[in-house]
Amino acid sequence: MAAAIFNLNHHAGFIHWHFIQLSVPNVIAIVLMLLVFAAAILAPFPGGRRSGGAS
């Protein structure tokens, strides 16, 4: 069996700030979602952008 790209055979790291405690994998997932959300709003849709506004 091929080895995993990342070694997952250990406990996840945690980010702890006051009462907020998040695992590093969850933080990565949240940051990725925010980046994809921003890209979905800002990136032009191929062949779809109107020039004079929708009627």
Binding site: M33, V36, F37, A40, G47, G53
Partner: protein, 218 residues
């Protein structure tokens, strides 16, 4: 049509269904120009992920919950199932953010918003019961921890997280039925009401209906 046919429940149901969702609305051949944006893609990406979840889950159910421990093919389908769930939540959260910031409950779309939000809430225990059905130490750990949480909020009398049979039944039948049923209702409501327009466009349409320009001060 005869009087008896007029009284028939099937005729009345058909008329109501066609009135609510005429064929051109149910299966449209085009969408408004404002739908040409990446933010409108995440609903259908969630649907594609859900289809992958159901398909891989059906294959896993055919072979039983321990199959993926003893077969590389089982492991493959288990991984497809897991990553489809990860993508389902990933896309659904972005879909939810997008719809929240465009106030997608506007224009009589309250039920569209509610069915989407409830689908998200029901999908969470659907995933949880999957984690406790893995038949490994991870499942044992999660079930014992979640059992305490359910007891703490007073739900332990209804759900026993350490009862594998109950959790597996919830995971492969009851909760997927609820999620799929809610998603079908959500999509039909979107078809009925149409995709919500951007806020700016709605203001322009309202101004046009009143015969005023929203960007011109009087």
């Amino acid at each position: 049509m005869s009087a008896s046919a007029e009284r028939s429940w099937t005729v009345r149901l058909r008329r109501r269904a066609v009135a609510a969702l005429p064929p051109e609305k149910l299966l449209p051949d085009g969408q408004p120009t404002y739908v040409a944006s990446w933010i409108y893609v995440f609903g259908v990406l969630s649907l594609a992920s859900l289809a992958s979840i159901i398909l891989s889950g059906t294959i896993l159910a055919l072979k039983g919950p321990t199959w993926w421990h003893v077969s590389s093919i089982g492991h493959f389908f288990n991984s497809i199932h897991l990553w489809s769930v990860e993508l389902f939540f990933f896309f659904m959260v972005i879909h939810l953010w997008g719809k929240y910031w465009m106030a997608a409950w506007r224009g009589g779309r309250k039920r569209v918003w509610i069915t989407g939000a409830v689908t998200f809430l029901v999908a969470v225990p659907c995933a949880l019961t999957g984690y406790v059905s893995q038949q490994n130490f991870d499942a044992q750990w999660i079930s014992t921890q979640a059992k305490d949480a359910f007891n703490a909020v007073g739900l332990g009398g209804f759900f026993n997280l350490m009862n594998f049979g109950q959790m597996y039944s919830y995971h492969i039948l009851l909760l997927p039925l609820a999620v799929v049923g809610l998603v079908i209702a959500h999509v039909l409501l979107v078809r009925k009401h149409g995709v919500v327009p951007p806020l700016e466009l709605e203001q322009k349409l309202e101004a046009a209906s009143r015969g005023t320009d929203p960007h011109r001060s009087s």
